[in-house]
Symmetry: C2
Subunit: 116 residues, 2 copies
């Protein structure tokens, strides 16, 4: 495996809400993503959802309140918990999910995850 | 779960090579650690070893060469691969390992992992 520089990987694309796989770890995909605007409400029945903010600010709406994250903030949405990520301005995130997990929680609406 | 600010967690301790658990994710411990000097050669027979450099520089010696990491660099040592992390000056890392994994690969020499 080669060294993965997260900033360099983030310079390789500009689309939003489309995670890019940068490494594999214990059958999980390690991904970077750029987000802006509102995602959809969703949950993952079989996995926790790992968020680390690399740049910008992210709000994760939960049914019982909002969580506000800035750079260097980490948050794990427990499996099965409904959430909606949103970012008023572009934010860059590190995500970790089991390989093959649909980003919307639903394979019919999920983005394909490209390795970069 | 509360928001975990990695920098704030790193300010809570000063010892080296003693990972502190800051979150749980899919039965893995998410940890921060401060390192300086040389660790020991070891491997983990059952798990990949996830390193993300938050501050400073880290060298991971492998039997077939050294890997040099700086801030924002991520590297996964595959399971079973012998490695020795070292840092000439203090470096701060994010680590992820299955809960209960000994940091030396050997329960008899491992540091206890405290949650902070």
């Amino acid at each position: 495996m080669v060294v993965v520089n997260l900033e360099a990987k983030l310079k390789m694309f500009s689309d939003h809400w489309s995670p890019k796989i940068v490494a594999s770890f214990n059958k999980h995909d390690v991904m970077v993503v750029k987000v802006q605007g509102e995602f959809i409400w969703h949950s993952h029945p079989d996995t926790d959802d790992f968020f680390l903010v690399l740049k910008g600010n992210l709000t994760i709406q939960l049914r019982d309140g909002d969580v506000h994250l800035g750079p260097g903030d980490l948050y794990v949405v427990p499996k099965g918990v409904e959430h909606r990520p949103m970012a008023a301005e572009e934010a860059h995130l590190l995500l970790i999910e089991p390989a093959g997990t649909p980003n919307t929680g639903d394979v019919t609406t999920a983005s394909a995850k490209e390795a970069i």
